[in-house]
Symmetry: C2
Subunit: 143 residues, 2 copies
């Protein structure tokens, strides 16, 4: 069983992630959103309508799943489906005014650092941010 620093980091990362997910889930529940719906809202661009298929890619899930997700968001008046002019197969998703407002609340909840991170010394927080920024850069380069 190899336990490199990367492996140890990964386990810790995971543990914090699970706690954070539970905490965020509770806060999102109070906004009347499930985790998936909130994540979908977060991924939509308030300025630029996005095809369903693009949303499915960003959510790493099946397109048919997005249909249901968007059904619920649309039923609550948060997003609108509009057929694209140039290709009538695609439905472009745009946020309503209410959608933008709720999305802002979601962003606030989801970017609220959990206890574990909030309690770190300032130097650790900065170092963490910098390292994770490099990690995300790797992510984009690979994808």
């Amino acid at each position: 069983m190899a336990t490199t620093p990367a492996h140890e980091a990964q386990k810790l990362f995971f543990e914090i992630g699970m706690v954070q997910r539970a905490r965020a889930g509770a806060a999102l529940g109070e906004l009347g959103l499930g985790f998936a719906q909130a994540h979908a809202l977060r991924m939509l661009d308030p300025d630029e309508p996005m095809p369903m298929s693009a949303l499915a890619e960003r959510l790493f899930c099946d397109a048919s799943n997005v249909t249901g997700l968007v059904d619920r968001l649309e039923a609550r008046g948060l997003v609108e489906r509009r057929s694209a002019a140039n290709d009538r197969r695609v439905k472009a998703l745009s946020l309503t005014r209410a959608g933008v407002a709720l999305r802002d609340q979601v962003l606030a909840v989801m970017s609220e650092p959990p206890e574990a991170i909030a309690a770190l010394p300032a130097a650790d927080q900065r170092a963490l941010r910098d390292i994770l920024a490099r990690a995300v850069e790797n992510l984009r380069a690979t994808a």
Copy 2:
């Protein structure tokens, strides 16, 4: 909108977490496990039987949910329910031989660092591990 280093770190953390979850989900699917079942397996101690209620706490979910989760694990012969001798209300969960073996595979999958982290310089990996270790310590102190 306050964007402190902790907030920025949190957003990055979240982004990596989502990718990692998708990746792990696929690998776990090949083991025939959903994410929740895998997580439950991970939480069980191979040496020390654990009451259902304790598992529910560790999973941050309702006890009735654990019933279903354990039903499925038991149906596959991975865990056993056994009534505790001193208190016949509690059912102690113990892993079968097959359960221990599969749990090991789950641990391997879940602690495999994602691309993003694996590609970091060694110094960053060590620093990340150290910072997250301090963060988890905060977590336990608070809880």
